[in-house]
């Protein structure tokens, strides 16, 4: 039982990270109808920027403080991600207005490759560390309930806490601010929003910037856990089934989907893996999403409207 719970918690924590990446997908899809394949590349890019800036800034400016370096690096990384968002809007999206979704999807594939290449060219392609002071030591809970207690990593708990905070602040932003309302208006109907004077191009920059910032948070958490390297960008491939499962337009869906897929793949690896030869973690999420697509194409919480043939 204790082992089961440990696996479950481990899966939920991993799922939280998938959910963070998936959140980027959902936000951008909601407000611009673009399925942003580049989210994984943006996570890599943001994490690389953060890792390298926190290393470079103390050298450039000549200070020692770790804390200051991290804060400055995060600020700089946010600025860089906003710049990236602006460039993407300028150079790609603006030119592709009104194209079919497939063309847009393929364009984001191109953007993925470009950002991957550019990120590693600028920031280097080795493995880098991010140290934002997340506690590394595990903790043991419920020692008297289970034999040996439950081994949980504090890092995972902090990560989950940060993600929850991020989601909460994003929902506040969407619900309470004028910009948030404008974003939701654009999400509902591009043309109507434009005709009441909401500037589409600015909205896109904002949305992609938020996508970039979410990517940065995911990158920092992921990077401080496992180091920043190319494999981070593959997380996006895990986040795809998460969005499908949760529904393309639903923020809670991304979270719930992430948790389901994270825990599901860890549990299935442990309990089904031995029968199937192991390594099923890689496709479990996809097969789950595929099965789900056939039964309920809009996902758990997605909008009912879906084009079906």
């Amino acid at each position: 039982m204790g082992f089961f719970l440990e696996t479950l918690f481990g899966g939920l924590m991993a799922g939280m990270l998938y959910a963070l990446v998936a959140l980027g997908f959902v936000l951008i899809f909601k407000a611009s109808g673009v399925f942003n394949f580049a989210q994984g590349a943006m996570v890599l890019f943001a994490a690389l920027a953060m890792a390298r800036f926190s290393e470079w800034l103390p050298q450039w400016l000549g200070f020692e403080s770790r804390f200051l370096a991290n804060v400055l690096a995060i600020v700089l990384a946010v600025v860089v991600m906003i710049g990236v968002a602006w460039l993407i809007e300028r150079l790609a999206l603006r030119q592709l207005v009104g194209q079919e979704p497939i063309a847009l999807l393929m364009a984001t594939l191109g953007i993925t490759y470009f950002i991957d290449g550019a990120g590693q060219l600028i920031f280097g392609s080795a493995t880098y560390k991010i140290d934002v002071g997340m506690p590394k030591d595990p903790m043991i809970l419920f020692e008297d309930v289970f034999q040996g207690g439950l081994l949980l990593s504090k890092e995972d708990l902090y990560a989950a806490l940060v993600s929850a905070l991020l989601v909460a602040s994003l929902s506040l932003f969407f619900q309470k601010t004028a910009t948030g309302r404008a974003l939701r208006a654009v999400a509902d109907d591009h043309q109507a929003a434009q005709s009441i004077g909401i500037p589409l191009s600015r909205i896109w920059v904002i949305v992609w910037s938020i996508g970039g910032i979410v990517a940065l948070v995911a990158g920092i958490i992921w990077g401080s856990k496992l180091g920043v390297q190319f494999s981070i960008s593959l997380v996006a491939l895990k986040a795809l089934p998460v969005v499908i499962l949760g529904g393309l337009t639903s923020v809670p869906g991304a979270i719930v989907g992430g948790l389901i897929i994270g825990s599901g793949e860890k549990l299935s690896e442990i309990y089904l893996g031995p029968f199937l030869g192991g390594g099923i973690e890689n496709w479990f999420a996809y097969v789950l999403a595929l099965g789900f697509l056939l039964v309920r194409p809009q996902g758990l919480f997605g909008d009912k409207i879906i084009d079906r043939v």
Binding site: Q99, I102, L105, L121, I280
Partner: protein, 354 residues
């Protein structure tokens, strides 16, 4: 000047409907084929065969298959690598398990297995489309990666997970030297190119294009979406499967599952986009581009005296691919093939612009 069709009158439907209605095109293609079949085997070096010509031919074939699905039928697929893998492993198993299996039959058998697999994963396309379908094909990709890695039966219980092919022979003749392998690939590509071109020109090709352009309208005018989509998946994965089998048998000789990873899928999709969505010649342009660009990136800086490290070159390659894809999607969604077509139109009218 030379490229002008004055005086070439078509006096029958047959003449009007041929693939290359302009005499100069016909001559040029025949010359090209003669060159490729007769001159190249004598001229090209072994390195050129191994590193450029054979990969180019096989990838063109795969891109042609993918183009049928994505370019003609509008069903996006990110799982091409998986279909290639199925073709390769099926052909391998046919060859290993059945004694005296002719090479051609093994290749075709690989293609047929890929067809079954393709139709199976094409079934979701009847209910979903666009990015949802992309996820379904990604599922095919990851499942196949796992399947070929973890199921020992597929690799004939090889301990390292890699498989290698016995010596190839065709109708009793050994296919050993790079030139012979090249000729084998070339013949297959020419045959398949002709078949595909005729398929997309015919009734079924028009059905695919109707489905791509507007599936609801296509259904209204009496095209059965189920039939059209599944046939596109079937034909496409057959061609891709044969290409996969060739890639494994002829190009690699021995391979491991990583040869057909998701990178290969993306690479093929890029070939189709850069070469030209919805054109058979586009597959060749795209494949040529993707095979040559890395080589250029390696050689040009060397000639200029600016040695690039391998890592930098590969990052640059990524950036160039990415930028080009966005560029082509914006400026010329029909890719290099359309540029070539435009150039030809211009030549036809030259020196008068209209």
């Amino acid at each position: 000047m030379l490229y002008r069709e004055n005086g070439q009158f078509k006096q029958s439907y047959h003449a009007d409907l041929q693939i290359f209605p302009v005499l100069q095109d016909r001559v040029a293609i025949q010359l090209l084929l003669v060159l490729a079949f007769v001159a190249v085997p004598f001229v090209a070096s072994d390195y050129a065969f191994r590193a450029i010509l054979i990969p180019f031919l096989i990838l063109s074939l795969a891109a042609m298959g993918l183009n049928i699905l994505v370019g003609y039928c509008g069903q996006i697929s990110l799982g091409t690598g998986a279909f290639m893998a199925i073709g390769a492993y099926a052909a391998y198993n046919l060859q290993v398990r059945i004694d005296g299996m002719p090479l051609l039959v093994a290749l075709i058998g690989g293609g047929l297995c890929a067809t079954v697999f393709g139709v199976l994963f094409g079934i979701p396309s009847l209910r979903i489309r666009g990015l949802y379908l992309a996820v379904a094909t990604l599922a095919a990709q990851f499942f196949t990666d796992w399947f070929t890695n973890r199921v020992p039966w597929v690799t004939n219980n090889s301990s390292s997970g890699s498989v290698s092919v016995r010596e190839l022979s065709l109708f009793g003749m050994a296919v050993e030297t790079p030139a012979q392998k090249y000729l084998l690939c070339l013949s297959i590509v020419v045959v398949f190119g002709l078949l595909c071109k005729n398929l997309v020109r015919g009734a079924i090709g028009r059905q695919w294009m109707a489905i791509r352009d507007m599936d609801v309208a296509a259904a209204v005018i009496g095209i059965r979406p189920v039939y059209a989509k599944l046939s596109a998946f079937a034909v496409s994965s057959f061609v891709v499967g044969v290409a996969g089998a060739l890639w494994g048998f002829v190009h690699l000789g021995s391979w491991e599952p990583a040869a057909f990873s998701i990178d290969r899928s993306f690479q093929l999709l890029f070939m189709v986009i850069i070469g030209g969505l919805g054109s058979i010649s586009g597959a060749f342009f795209g494949a040529a581009f993707i095979v040559l660009l890395p080589l250029l990136l390696n050689y040009v800086p060397h000639w200029l005296g600016l040695p690039l490290s391998t890592a930098t070159a590969s990052h640059l390659e990524h950036m160039i691919f990415g930028a080009l894809i966005v560029f082509f999607l914006i400026v010329e969604p029909h890719g290099l093939a359309r540029l070539w077509l435009t150039a030809r139109e211009k030549l036809r009218l030259w020196p008068f612009p209209h």
